[in-house]
Symmetry: C2
Subunit: 587 residues, 2 copies
Amino acid sequence: MGTAVRSVSAPDAVEDPRELRCLPRARLGGVCDALRDDLIALGARRGGHFAGSLGTVELTVGLHWVFDTPRDRIVWDVGHQAYGHKALTGRRQQLDRVKCADGPSGFLRRAESEFDVFGAGHAGTSISAALGIVEAQRRSGDAARTVAVIGDGASTAGMAFEALNHAGELAADLRVVLNDNGMSIAPSVGGLRRTGEFRKYFESLGFSYIGPVDGHALDELIPALETLRDASGPTVLHTRTHKGYGFAPAAADPYGWHATSPFDRATGARKSGSNSGPPSWTEAFADALGRVADRDPRVVAITAAMPDGTGLDRFARRHPGRVYDVGIAEQHAVTFAAGLATEGLRPVCAIYSTFLQRAFDQIVHDVALQGLPVSFALDRAGLVGADGPTHHGVLDLGYLRIIPGLVVAAPRDENQLQHMLATAVGSDRPFALRFPRGAALGVGLDPEPKPIPIGHAEMLCDGSDVALFALGKTVSSALAAAEKLAQRGVSARVVDARFVKPLDRDALESAARHCGRIVTLEDHMLAGGFGSAVLEALAASPLHPRVLAMGLDDGFVEHGDVDQQWLDARIDAESIAQRTLAWLESC
Amino acid sequence: MGTAVRSVSAPDAVEDPRELRCLPRARLGGVCDALRDDLIALGARRGGHFAGSLGTVELTVGLHWVFDTPRDRIVWDVGHQAYGHKALTGRRQQLDRVKCADGPSGFLRRAESEFDVFGAGHAGTSISAALGIVEAQRRSGDAARTVAVIGDGASTAGMAFEALNHAGELAADLRVVLNDNGMSIAPSVGGLRRTGEFRKYFESLGFSYIGPVDGHALDELIPALETLRDASGPTVLHTRTHKGYGFAPAAADPYGWHATSPFDRATGARKSGSNSGPPSWTEAFADALGRVADRDPRVVAITAAMPDGTGLDRFARRHPGRVYDVGIAEQHAVTFAAGLATEGLRPVCAIYSTFLQRAFDQIVHDVALQGLPVSFALDRAGLVGADGPTHHGVLDLGYLRIIPGLVVAAPRDENQLQHMLATAVGSDRPFALRFPRGAALGVGLDPEPKPIPIGHAEMLCDGSDVALFALGKTVSSALAAAEKLAQRGVSARVVDARFVKPLDRDALESAARHCGRIVTLEDHMLAGGFGSAVLEALAASPLHPRVLAMGLDDGFVEHGDVDQQWLDARIDAESIAQRTLAWLESC
């Protein structure tokens, strides 16, 4: 890296806030222009999260000019909008490798820069973190200032409210910038968005309110930031910004340009690859849910501010009026679904694996304990590649399978996905199914989604030396590994477990009896995961078979290429074959 | 049951809302008096959650008189305040056995009554559930009305905000009664509480606001409820009530009378047993934390609206100014702690095991991923007895041990508790420790809390036939079981594992080598728990020992006596001995 040709080399590009603060106010417009130009060039070359950062150029420059960073702490929320902050704080060149294994994270990250005072990735955390910092500073007599920068989308998260309410209680010198662009990834939702009564809202919680100001007009923004800097007590500055500002195609369609593939700057035309491959898992889910909903009028779907990412916008085109976007509010999403279910509906919560962590208690307390028929579709399960450790979905089998009565499943392909969705909705039980990010397998679909027996595994090929028990995305690796093993004289049975809970004990006993040794495969933490469930199930087996669990060791997996992450975790087909072979020889 | 002598048999006692609605408005005062009298008599006889329900007598009677229950749905929050609702809906007699295995739950419960339209226990869920019901009714054309009744304390939960905001978006015919008594269990906190600007708050989210009205004055309350009944769109009725109203001692000290032991009605004197036994785990924790904080000025403590239940009020008397009560806001509590930790403090989040479920994502994303030194003290871990399935802490080992880098420990007695707390605070790592509800063991305390080596188990007695690996409260059962086994000719090693993560693999290998067979003991779900971790650790052991895991089978454990719950789970000393014996004979 470092050799990338930069299409623009603006004379006003600044890469250190200390340099920035040496510039007179009159130069800031030029700095903003250069920074925005840089970000557009970066997006055109690389793609990635795009429109958010374009909308915060003036805010980023203004914050670093008005506040004494890094002594004054800026706590960004989420991170999609912080590329300008990265460029301005010494990471301009590195952004060409953003989200690559050898480049910076796509989100905020303490280890990356002293200017990233608190990591981010999930939405709505910044005010809590900033309030903790403010309180610690008060205790130590540190006179530095702390500013949380939160979008109106992120502020629909309940924990943002909790933090505001606590700040009001403490009457702390907490500064908040509300970056109000009317968008989460999709357009923002919520009563507060509808009324627009932000002043009332913040004042009711004990905040002083400044604004709203035009977040792209430095003449308005800089004085407002100076007022914020000099304020005491909980204070919010409400800035209105436009996501995608300064690049006409993105400004006209900020939802479509939240993230982008590389594009032509002059025309805005996307340079996307040919689209002849298999559908994404997300598309496959949306279509499968559509087919299930065709047949079952009780089905409604719920997203927490991700209609695009979950495919529910696609579903909504087929079934208008049957999707709820509740905002970045996973807790409410789940209990709202439970309420719907008490009245006979069959809600499907489509929430990324990593974000459903927010609703763990609600799944336990409001859904499972009451045995309500709510289904959970966890997209982005397993390793997600470029988004990195904040976004991997590698804990879900662990936190879900401990919940009494919940069915936990994972389809190996999009045809099984549609059948599992039909199973979930038809089961009258709480039911979770997970599937990965990226392209599905491109298999043909049966004409109709039909329920499959819950808790039944499926043997895909028989063998006598070892049994590979796989799940979801690892099933194809297991099949490929079995071929490799066959070439090396080892006969492997391959079983698609399909269900982690309830587990198919008969299939396990059969494997113990006929193969003797069992390998489990999962794109999930080994602790508490699928292999762990198999060990539990077999502990009492009179056959007492040997089990080798393959999956992720304890630790967070960094951002990078997802195939490389699989190689590193040694759950690719070749690694599985080699490890299985070595294991069979050793025991 | 059913034979209890009732001290008062009021002529106006009503046990069915349909009867209630046949009464003229003028009779409601008498009904309220009779109901309140009943509740006081019940409290005097039985103890239990007390002051909350006294404060909602008029509201309960008013709701059932104005609304057509159960066709109109009343969704209560939490349940501490719903004893009057239970009495009025056919459960008056049964309340004498409330929280007993053969009596009603202390909370709302769908299985218990058609009037309990949504279960409760954890705070802040009612608006989400009610909104789901409203939406389902709208879809089906059901003209019934739905009312969520939420306390001002419960409305500090982020999910309550999420639900209000979504209701404002939908402009749904959702009715909310804000039962504002200024209290959670302790006095309510929050900026909204401080400003008192409830109208502004609700209106900013798109609600119509009615009130405030005196929730004990039927002349104000009934017309207001009728207005609420006839409203359309999201509407909130703000009622001011007094927790403990109508019983002078409780009204004067509602915090102290939130829950009570049996008492003398005439004097208010509590009939508590002698207090000469060992301290509670909670007291032991508070004192241990006090000693640790004596030596380490970086220690601060955080509670989510439970200063009494967690012992932090006791800690605060020793260390004023070092406790934060953030409200019912576990998510914020954890990320706030993470913010404190970035600035060098050593925050300890004291949160019940079951309530920490709310902050699972924040522990992962904001604490563990950043490796921040936040400690979690999980009170009420394991089976909690009378509070039942909403309150057991039997998932914590499962959801915590899958988090990379987190230390997970459980002390067997209060002396080990103080050493583990010192270990946690001194470790510079994220660290969770769990301990049960009820009395500690009464052991002597070492003069100073001192760190113990992380990940090291402790052998308490050696043996050669089997090794019992226990944890926390099960350690004493294991020791007693070992004695019983010795009497039956079996030599059992007893190991206090102390840490579930990292697990002491050497201790396990040693047991495998010397004893051959291993029994694991836990007051936790078997799925994903301590035994599961042991199975994972031993899967690769060349010795391939047999393991029998004892703990809780899949399923929710009903409310009742905690000792009976242990007997039912067969994790008491005698059951452990018998099951171990049978197992050793069988394999």
